[in-house]
Amino acid sequence: MSPSPGPLDLALGAGFVLVNAGLSAALGLGLSRTVLVAACRLVAQLTLVGLVLRTVFGLGAPGPVIAVVAVMALAAAYEIGARQERPLRGAWRYLLGGAVTAGATVIAVAVGLAALRPQPWWDPHALIPLAGIVLGSVMSGVAIGLNGFTGGVRRERAAIEARLALGATRDEALAPLIRSAIRAGLIPVLNQMAAAGLITLPGMMTGQILAGQDPQGAAAAQILILFLLAGASGLGVTGAVFLAARRLTDARHRLRLERLG
């Protein structure tokens, strides 16, 4: 088993990020600040998470484990809302994506726990990484799907209203946009499945192999995870886009763009 990287090793990696920031400055991309802030956030977040998880693992009770997962879900809800170019107005901005993501994650994690059968079921070594990886994947799918849908509704407003004016139902008028938004939201996870192993070694599998585990076992675990991600993303993205379609119309089949920021 290879040792975990020390401060000097991390400094080497940090230099690599500085190269990225320098490139951005040289090319005038205006991203240097963002890159540096993101890198600092990453260091702070992961260090803190490492500390918190060590504590939670040591407590040996289900409550703190569930609390950690709940905080992760809240963060995912915030990220989805923050990434919307034209978010839904009011609490819907965070509520809609967050609730759907949480729901899809609970289902996927339940399936994952049924397959992995950890003892006890809330064993943080299984539950926390499982919930984390599913949340992350559903989150990015839902964020892309919602963003694509609201952007599309804005862009296609005249076309949607033309159909409504001619007597189409809201489902008929929005169907093409709903379909293309769901498709866009599912592309990341589909790419991930198709590219896994050939083009990329998935993060979890990389971690397990680096940590000295048998590649065959790591592959089996990764296959299970990718299935969970695909299923959860499908549920999450579809649910979120359909709910957004409901929110942007009303019972009299009117387009309610004023509900968009």
Binding site: I160, L166, G167
Partner: protein, 196 residues
């Protein structure tokens, strides 16, 4: 009979109007005075208060899509949702609408054209044809001939007149006094969001 009673939303209205079959009401007034909002409220495309009924059937008693098939709004800049013209019409439209298509000076093969190739005027005439295709009882026309050449304007007016003679009720937003004089049987002036 189309009956509109104290129809309003925030700063628009109240509007009251009653139109019998075959009547054409010109809705006139400066830009931004609320003419389009008025038409959109009648079609139930914008939320509104007040009553609208057609042949004694209240708007709220009918599912909105069905109401809009009877009371059809045609926007000043109508939208298109598919690539070819034909996809915006039912399969029997080229045959059943042949006479009105010709009157609108649109060629027979227009249904096969891609929407992207249409000129503004062609779009406007096709949108009128598309609105007529559903056989509405009330047509809410928002500047339907604004970007047409004089010959096409006459064609569009002839088509509207013919439907009107068959009992169609029309509300027509127009900035052309001559057109109003040619088509309208009544007139509603709008200023500052209300009937002037």
């Amino acid at each position: 009979m189309l009956r509109i009673e104290s129809l309003r939303r925030d700063r628009f209205g109240p509007f009251d109007l009653a139109l019998a079959p075959g009547e054409v009401c010109a809705v006139t007034g400066p830009s931004g005075s609320g003419k389009s909002v008025f038409l959109r409220m009648i079609a139930d495309l914008d939320p509104s208060e007040g009553r609208v009924s057609l042949d004694e059937i209240d708007r709220d008693a009918v599912p909105a899509p069905l109401w809009r098939r009877r009371v059809t709004y045609l926007a000043a800049e109508p939208g298109w949702w598919a690539e070819t013209v034909a996809e915006h019409f039912s399969a029997d439209a080229p045959a059943s609408l042949a006479r009105e298509r010709a009157a609108l000076r649109l060629p027979e093969d227009v249904f096969g054209w891609p929407v992207a190739r249409l000129s503004t005027g062609e779009r406007q005439r096709l949108a009128l044809l598309r609105a007529l295709a559903g056989g509405p009882k009330v047509l809410l026309l928002d500047e339907p001939t604004a970007s047409l050449d004089p010959v096409s304007v006459r064609g569009a007016e002839a088509v509207i007149q013919e439907r009107r003679a068959a009992g169609l009720i029309v509300l027509l937003v127009s900035h052309d006094p001559a057109q109003v004089a040619r088509l309208a049987t009544g007139r509603l002036a709008v200023a500052g969001g209300r009937a002037a």
